[in-house]
Amino acid sequence: MTKPISSTNKPMPLPLALTLGEPAGIGLDITLTTWQRRTELGIPPFYLLADPRHLKSRAARMSLDVPIAPVEPAQAGAAFANALPVVDIGVTATADPGRPDASSAPAAIAAIRRAVADVFGGMASAVVTNPVAKNVLYRSGFAEPGHTEYLAKLAAEMTGATAMPVMMLWSPELAVVPVTIHLPLSEVPKRLTADLVVDTGRIVARDLNRRFGIAHPRLAVAGLNPHAGEEGALGEEDRAIVAPAIARLAAEGIDARGPLPADTMFHEAARKSYDAALCMYHDQALIPIKTLAFNHAVNVTLGLPFVRTSPDHGTAFDIAGSGRADPSSLIAALKLAARLIEK
């Protein structure tokens, strides 16, 4: 195989592997419009893992003049300037925009598997994933709770070591980590343990250091209850679970503060005092970041043996194929992935 042509002896950096996501969703739409803005926005080279014919038909449907280059990963970096490089996942996708079909789940899963394999095979620098539809995957018999858990399973298959994936939502304004994620709220007080908070805090501190290059990461930890439980008057969990977990993290030398009342953690002055906020449940984390960075927050998975980012939105079936999907979050995800692998 020929080496990529380069004007210097420096090897071209590896491209990012971008998955198709749900074929009927907006993943293809935003991939096409993101590539169109590659020069203007300085988007790092990536290749899409998809069915090239399906991609071409979406581009035609949206009347997008995007040259599409079916390639192997090794050629993607060089091809990126002049065409959208697409690596064939070997599964035929047939879903129309907004209408997932029987090809949806196999295509989405094949792209994820291939992206992880490419990263471990030294063909790609990081995994960036387009949104999938959990319900569609579940109906096909997919047994993992979600995208992130599946990536962790694939990583474990590749390395033989289990990994605890931790979801962080990142934006230039704020980074938040929900310690519990897609659980019914009634399950949260039952599943919240000091071990979970400690394990999460360790991974966040380690990856903020290792991936984000922050020498001494500072963590702010929210209480579960209003006013962080107000000394037990508004719930026991903050004294019994969260506070001891923070003490354990601090004893390990991690700069962790709390439990803090969530409502006073997120104004501008408070945000300057930490690098990431650990929240106890989904809405506590998602409300502030969606308020501050509605369309450009990025979902970053910490704790994996590779860099994985993803746009912070769903498949948006209602606008797929219409050209109205906003690529801002995917663009931010690609840029952040490129930044994280440099470290």
Binding site: K134, N135, I181, H182, L183, P184, L185, S186, E187, V188, P189, L224, N225, P226, H227, G229, L234, G235, E236, E237, A262, D263, T264, M265, F266, H267, E268, A269, Y281, H282, D283, Q284, L286, I287, P288, K290, T291, L292, F294
Partner: protein, 335 residues
């Protein structure tokens, strides 16, 4: 020209910044153009604050709202005489301050119940002073519920941030307790209280949006069933009664939806986190579900800067801005 809305400003803890921000608010030209404010305070205390803060004001002290006179630049004070007023130390908590604070608030609420004023804005209380006075107080919503003989289970807090209004179905309860409190009856009550409050504030056809309790409002039952079993049926029942209400929507995306006059959330943090990100200072909290219009400011009595003249009245101005739209003489409604 229709008569202006009359608003009583309960001046809060006399040792904190309450009298100062009340005074600044009553003197504000925008406030005076929008409504007729009357400060409820011990006349000597408000004069002392004016002096130490360097605020020039011509006071008109009255015993009854009916004697007030809003001509010129005068500041009307509904005198709420306090024992020990002359010796009360600014910046210090005390039983006397706690008693005075509660007395002002009670007087203002009574004036509203009697129809002498159209609405009440309350400056911050100090819970330590109130506790020293041996008075039961656990926040303005409960206080106003008791003072107006309203069942507390139908009383809610509505945060006002600019044009956004956020109503809390549960407030100062642990997450476990809050979940247990979410019933169809509770949701029905909070929707009705919100609709009534918005109408009182001059919105003819209020549009309301309700959040879920669970992530993504349960995502069709994947992450919890309260939306399917409780919240949605309550919304449907309210719609059947003619109230315009949508949801449940995931609380994280809901606040970006356009066209709603108020959002109802299930938990303290769902609403307070959004409100304080959007506006850390200028937030007013209305108590709704009671027969009077009542708002307080969402900050404390700031004893550390009392009497220095540097207190920011932004939250109280915001509260007045909200209430000034209330229709004067609008009939009181009781469930």
């Amino acid at each position: 020209m229709a008569e202006k809305t009359k608003i009583a400003i309960a001046s809060g803890d006399p040792a904190g910044i309450g009298p100062e921000i009340s005074l600044k608010t009553a003197l504000d030209p925008v406030v005076r153009a929008a409504c007729n404010p009357i400060v409820v305070c011990d006349a000597g205390i408000v004069a002392r604050h004016a002096k130490v803060c360097g605020i020039e004001a011509e006071f008109h002290t009255v015993k009854h709202v009916g004697d007030a006179d809003w001509s010129g630049q005068r500041v009307n004070v509904l005198d709420c005489a306090v024992a020990d007023a002359a010796t009360l130390a600014l910046g210090a908590t005390s039983a006397a301050a706690g008693r005075a604070s509660i007395a002002c608030c009670r007087t203002a609420v009574k004036a509203a119940l009697a129809g002498d004023v159209d609405a009440v804005v309350a400056a911050p209380q100090n819970e330590t002073s109130i506790a020293l006075a041996d008075i039961k107080f656990d926040g303005h919503p409960s206080f106003v519920a008791r003072e107006t003989a309203t069942n507390e289970s139908g009383v809610f807090m509505m945060l006002c941030v600019g044009r956004m209004k956020i109503v809390h179905a549960t407030l100062h309860s642990s997450v476990r307790e809050a979940i247990a409190m979410i019933t169809r009856e509770k949701i029905a009550r909070v929707i009705k209280a919100t609709d009534a409050a918005l109408r009182r504030l001059g919105i003819e056809k209020p549009k309301i949006c309700v959040s879920g309790l669970n992530p993504h409002a349960g995502e069709d039952g994947l992450f919890g069933s309260e939306e399917i079993e409780i919240i949605k049926p309550a919304i449907d029942a309210a719609i059947a009664e003619g109230i315009s209400v949508a949801g449940p929507l995931g609380a994280d995306i809901m606040f970006h939806k356009k066209g709603f006059d108020a959002f109802i959330v299930m938990l303290h943090d769902q609403g307070h986190v959004a409100a304080k990100v959007l506006s850390p200072n200028a937030t007013a909290a209305m108590t709704i579900g009671v027969p009077i219009l009542f708002a307080s400011v969402a900050h404390g009595s700031a004893h550390d800067i009392a009497g220095k003249g540097i207190a920011n009245p932004a939250a109280m101005l915001e509260a007045i801005r909200q209430l000034a739209k209330a229709k004067p003489g609008f009939p009181l409604t009781r469930e």
